[in-house]
């Protein structure tokens, strides 16, 4: 390590900053106890802001550090920005809920922060080992978050389920990593790419399948999705919101880097795997959602289906597909943030509600909230001119350009089926017999999230190309134009 210098760590600066900040906050929490929850939450939001500034102010070029284990480029930069936004939104959404539900644990925002560091490292991972370590940092924080309400049976159960199944998927992933190492002799992404480019062996192929399967668990792609509905339902709602917003973006970012960098020589093979995962996710997400009565469970299936659409972007295997994926995830994150802000506000007599039928009469008692949710649901089901329509449109377009006609047709048909459950929410809100009104108070932080989310969805049509161009620029980093 003779060439070690502080300046070589510059690409890592945002992560290092967050790690230090997380430890400082931990100390603060340890001294001040649980009453510092609000302070720590807002402090963590500020830290995300600072980290975002640090990410943006990087030189924008490609830089490797830690002996090639970590890479920072325009692609990672954009996804990290989205991740940081998602983390900040999750923290803001949580505060009021945590106080209402008396989950006063100062570790809560800090756990979000540490899992956030894991996610940022994931999208920058350039070595199978750093990939695994980053993934585990993220996952372990998530397991704890799912079970953070340990006195509640359902929360503890969901944390347990998540942990056991997550452990299995980690085992699968590690097995895949060892196979790759065994057949290529390296764990570095660039070197793996070179080795596979020279010779493709069956062992390496099987290793790749194991790795993709392990990661498919993280994005809850079918058939590795079984944990999702139970965990979404069991975990505290604010944690569910966090799960829905951020980790999948990071995991998809990681999958995209894997398939386009080390596994690019195996494109013919991984396209098929992603194809199967994508089609199965879309189908299960659309059909299984039809029968759900619990809105958190419904959103779990919705997220499974949406991962199917996102994976379609990867399956396309082009710049258009990848930029579509980034764009889709950004839009999805924004819509989900708004939706959870509404769900978190569904309270009656100080009890949080989760049934879809509890939304009845929302248009009567809180018309603003009802219209916001209606816009979000219309956008989710892909009705133009809302942003959700463009997300799906870009993905389908890229799939058609790559001749994935069957996949695109499945995508269109399942989005018709899933429109049923999104529109049903609207029907319940506006046309069912009104139930008791909700407790009125909604914190201003939540209003900001709602306004930002709906504002983006509605106003996106005014200048659609600006965000799409940013996504395209980022995608080009991963897929040089010569390849696409």
């Amino acid at each position: 390590m003779s060439d070690f210098s502080l300046s070589s760590l510059m690409p890592l600066a945002p992560e290092l900053f967050l790690a230090v900040a997380g430890m400082v906050l931990l100390v603060v929490g340890a001294f001040m106890g649980n009453r510092s929850l609000r302070l720590i939450s807002w402090a963590s939001v500020v830290c995300y802001g600072i980290a975002a500034v640090m990410v943006v102010s990087g030189d924008g070029g490609r830089a490797e550090t830690l002996g090639g284990m970590f890479v920072m480029d325009g692609y990672a930069e954009l996804i990290k920005i989205f991740i940081l936004v998602g983390l900040a939104v999750s923290a803001i959404l949580s505060i009021q809920y945590l106080y209402q539900e008396q989950i006063l644990k100062f570790e809560y925002p800090i756990l979000i922060l540490f899992s956030g560091i894991g996610m940022m490292l994931m999208v920058s991972a350039h070595d199978l080992l750093s990939l695994y370590v980053a993934l585990e940092l993220q996952s372990l924080s998530l397991y704890v978050l799912a079970a953070i309400r340990r006195t509640h049976l359902r929360s503890a159960e969901s944390g347990m389920k998540y942990f056991i199944l997550g452990a299995i998927s980690s085992g699968v992933l590690l097995f895949g990593i060892s196979l790759i190492y065994g057949y290529t002799g390296t764990t570095n992404f660039a070197l793996i790419g070179q080795a596979l480019g020279a010779e493709i062996s069956l062992g390496a192929l099987i290793g790749m399948v194991f790795i993709l399967a392990g990661l498919a668990f993280k994005v809850s792609a079918v058939p590795f999705h079984m944990w999702t509905p139970d965990v979404y339902e069991g975990a505290p709602t604010s944690v569910t919101a966090f799960f829905a917003l951020v980790p999948k973006l990071a995991a998809l970012g990681l999958i995209a880097r894997l398939v386009f960098e080390p596994f690019y020589p195996l494109q013919d093979d991984w396209v098929q795997i992603i194809w199967i995962l994508s089609a199965a996710s879309m189908l299960v997400g659309a059909f299984a959602g039809l029968r759900q009565e619990n809105i958190k469970r419904l959103l779990a299936y919705s997220s499974i289906g949406n991962m199917g659409y996102a994976l379609m972007g990867i399956a396309a295997g082009t710049t258009a597909g990848l930029s579509g994926l980034i764009f889709y995830m950004a839009v999805y994150m924004i819509m989900t943030a708004g939706t959870f802000a509404v769900i978190l506000s569904m309270r009656r007599q100080d009890v949080n509600l989760e049934k879809i039928s509890d939304l009845a009469g929302l248009s009567h008692h809180m018309p603003k909230l009802a219209y916001i949710l209606a816009i979000l649901m219309f956008s989710m089901s892909g009705i133009p001119p809302l942003a959700g329509f463009f997300g799906k449109f870009v993905i389908f377009q890229s799939a058609m350009e790559s001749h994935l006609y069957v996949l695109a047709v499945i995508g269109v048909l399942t989005s018709v089926v899933s429109a049923y459950y999104y529109l049903r929410v609207i029907k319940v809100m506006f046309f069912d017999t009104p139930a008791e009104p909700y407790d009125g108070h909604i914190s201003w932080g939540r209003w900001i999230v709602l306004a930002g989310s709906v504002g983006f969805i509605l106003l996106f049509i005014i200048s659609p190309s600006s965000l799409l161009d940013i996504c395209r620029t980022a995608a080009v980093y991963l897929i040089p134009s010569s390849l696409s």
Binding site: M160, K161, I164, L205, V209, P223, M226, S463, S465
Partner: protein, 686 residues
């Protein structure tokens, strides 16, 4: 400045719509009125900049706000194209809108949802500004639909009234026909020109003049096709014969709405569209002929109906339709300047008439039937005087605004020297007679004679508050002087035939190349002389051989005098019929009973449409509905839905909650994937 002229109404709309309920009616009224007044002042300043700026040479500009969308060759920006035509429209829209906003504060003072009303008015104003400032057809379409939505919302504003709701729906549906034409026109433009950007289209129009389009075995002249489609859009919005049936019904909306949307601004959008697209229309003579014929016929038919109606607002509505007809046949004979001139003067005096009628209605407790009015001129003298000013302007009496604009239109039509020009001229003369007649009829029935309402209403009749009268005064000033002061600018004669010809040719060349060079050429040909060419510059385009406006200044004397004589005659007749010998109308009606029935029933357009479209559509719909329910639904949607639910049931059974089962499914999935890869690898290598 440009932004200040366009965006305050939008801001006001958002504030009033989102916060109006919380912060109260007064807040909504103040914020919306401020918004449009600021916009009106800014657009007046902008008018001076654009028309007189750059050393009297005009200073048109296009401001690109931001990029909108790109898809292949298709590029659209959000932009403000501010040239002479646009600033005229902006001034008209903003000034009338400001008057109507202020008027509404008084008029709607007893209404329950004032903030909703005010915010809709502002929304409309913004959409209209978007329409007139657009530099491409797509943004124009955005504004076009925006005013349509605002119009729908405002016609149906009193949504507890069934008639208002059905009128709103009717307006929306009839406009849909026109909008469909406009959309097709935009598609065709893109197909022919490969762009929707106006300046590019105008530059390319001459070279596409000979292009034909092969369709269904016919060769169609491409520009004619485009222009006819665009004109169908204009017909819908501007209530031209055939697509006019929504306009009279639209009077169900509150009166300020009728004044702003259905008289002064929105209905003139069609006129604006044709004038804006003049560089294309000039190369499509057949389309221009169609415009002339439709316009002239509308002017005549609407005037005949206007003579027989009894609802005060409906009379004015038909008069609006008739005046729009004038504007269209002016466009048809290439007198674009005259059409816009009439558009402007008409906006003033028609808004004045509508708001004055509103003041009468307000005074008489929402009585609209003229048969139940009469004799109220002593009670509401200010309104009475203002209504006279508006009516005389409408009738085209000398030195009122309408006189200048209507005369120049009729003279242009005469100077066109084609058969349809002549047709338009005589139709216009006939309509002018009837216009004067029904104006007098309206005044005498409303204000003179014996009071025909009950005592209670008569005793309580009262003059409107200052907030309602002051906007009327402003409009009255416009109705009095807009014609005199606008004449030279809008339609003034070119400086002698020779220099004028070169100027037009020069303009043509400049349009093709670029408008940057325009001022230089202008200066060399006719210096600083102030006339319509100096005013409009390149914003309107006329081929030299079509320049009827120049011809209009050299028509025989009798053509110039005829409209005045006819107008005076009409007023006199009206006074005799309804002021002096009040028994006479009844006798005339019974003598010409069939014709009166035809006029009174609006030429049976509604009935014919009902029989032709509505009944058949309902019958067809019912047939399809039965078939759909029994056959298509059974096999299609219902069947699919049931299957979907069953699939959902099966899938949810997998979700047992047992971790070991979940793990099993994961492992099975993994094995399946590996097996698939293995199988493929082995067979692929074999």
């Amino acid at each position: 400045m440009e932004l200040l002229a366009v965006f305050p109404p939008l801001l006001a709309f958002l504030l009033a719509f989102l916060l109006g309920r919380r912060l109260g009616d007064r807040f909504a009224q103040i914020v919306t009125c401020t918004g449009v007044v600021v916009a009106a002042l800014a657009s007046c300043a902008l008018f001076i900049h654009v028309v007189f700026g750059n050393d009297m040479q005009g200073d048109p500009r296009t401001i690109v706000l931001m990029h909108w969308m790109t898809s292949g060759d298709f590029k659209v920006d959000w932009a403000l194209k501010i040239d002479q035509l646009t600033v005229v429209m902006m001034c008209v829209v903003n000034i009338v809108s400001a008057c109507v906003h202020i008027y509404s504060v008084g008029y709607m003072s007893h209404d329950e949802s004032k903030e909703r009303f005010m915010s809709y008015l502002s929304l409309f104003t913004f959409a209209m500004l978007m329409l007139v400032t657009s530099d491409n057809l797509v943004q124009l379409f955005f504004g076009w639909e925006g005013v349509g939505v605002a119009s729908y919302l405002l016609i149906g504003f009193w949504n507890q009234k069934n008639s208002a709701n059905s009128a709103a729906i009717k307006a929306f549906l009839v406009n849909r026909v026109g909008d469909f034409g406009l959309a097709l026109g935009i598609f065709a433009t893109f197909a022919v020109f490969g762009t929707v950007h106006m300046d590019t289209i105008f530059a390319m129009a001459p070279e596409k003049a000979a292009l034909t389009y092969h369709f269904l075995g016919m060769d169609i002249h491409a520009l004619t096709l485009i222009c006819v489609l665009l004109f169908i859009g204009a017909m819908g919005k501007s209530a031209q014969l055939g697509l006019h049936t929504w306009l009279p019904d639209a009077m169900e909306g509150p009166t300020p709405v009728s004044a702003l949307i259905h008289a002064a601004t929105m209905v003139t959008a069609g006129v604006f569209l044709v004038a804006r697209m003049s560089p294309v229309f000039e190369y499509a003579p057949t389309a221009l002929m169609l415009v002339t014929l439709v316009g002239a016929t509308t002017a005549f038919v609407a005037a005949t109906i206007g003579m027989t109606q009894f609802d005060i607002k409906r009379v004015i509505a038909y008069s609006t339709m008739s005046q729009l007809g004038y504007m269209f046949f002016a466009l048809g004979v290439s007198a674009y300047g005259a059409a816009i001139f009439h558009l402007m003067t008409h906006a003033f005096f028609k808004a004045l008439l509508f708001l004055g009628a509103g003041s009468v209605i307000h005074a008489l407790h929402h009585e609209q039937d003229m048969r139940n009015m009469g004799g109220v001129w002593k009670k509401i003298p200010a309104t009475y005087v203002l209504m006279w000013i508006g009516s005389l302007a409408l009738a085209g009496m000398p030195f009122f605004a309408g006189f200048y604009s209507k005369d120049i239109i009729l003279e242009s039509a005469f100077a066109d020297h084609t058969w349809f020009g002549n047709y338009a001229f005589w139709m216009g003369i006939a309509a002018a007679l009837m216009t004067a007649f029904y104006s007098a009829r309206l005044l005498f029935m409303t204000f003179h004679g014996k009071p025909r309402m009950d005592h209670h209403t008569y005793d309580h009749a009262h003059e409107s508050p200052p907030s309602m009268l002051s906007p009327l005064m402003i409009l009255a000033v416009g109705a009095l002087f807009a014609g005199f002061f606008g004449y030279e600018s809008f339609v003034g004669s070119g400086a002698g035939a020779s220099s004028h010809a070169t100027q037009v040719v020069a303009t043509e060349n400049v349009v093709i190349e670029h408008d940057v060079e325009a001022p230089v050429v202008e200066e060399s040909t006719h210096g600083h002389e102030w006339n319509r060419h100096a005013f409009w510059q390149d914003s309107l385009f006329v081929l030299p051989e079509n320049d009827t406006l120049e011809g209009a200044h050299h028509v025989p004397l009798w053509v110039k005098l005829l409209p005045i004589i006819i107008g005076a005659l009409g007023l006199l007749l009206g006074a005799v019929f309804y002021g002096w010998k009040t028994g006479l109308p009844q006798k005339v009606v019974s003598a010409f009973n069939p014709i009166h029935t035809l006029f009174y029933n609006k030429w049976f357009f509604d009935e014919a449409y009902h029989a032709a479209f509505v009944t058949n559509a309902l019958r067809l719909g019912r047939a399809f509905w039965q078939g759909d329910k029994n056959i298509v639904d059974g096999l299609g949607p219902d069947g699919v839905a049931n299957t979907s639910q069953r699939v959902a049931g099966v899938l949810s059974r997998f979700q047992s909650g047992y971790v070991f089962q979940y793990a099993l499914i994961m492992i099975l999935g993994l094995i399946a994937l590996v097996t698939w890869m293995f199988f493929k690898m082995v067979t692929g290598q074999a």
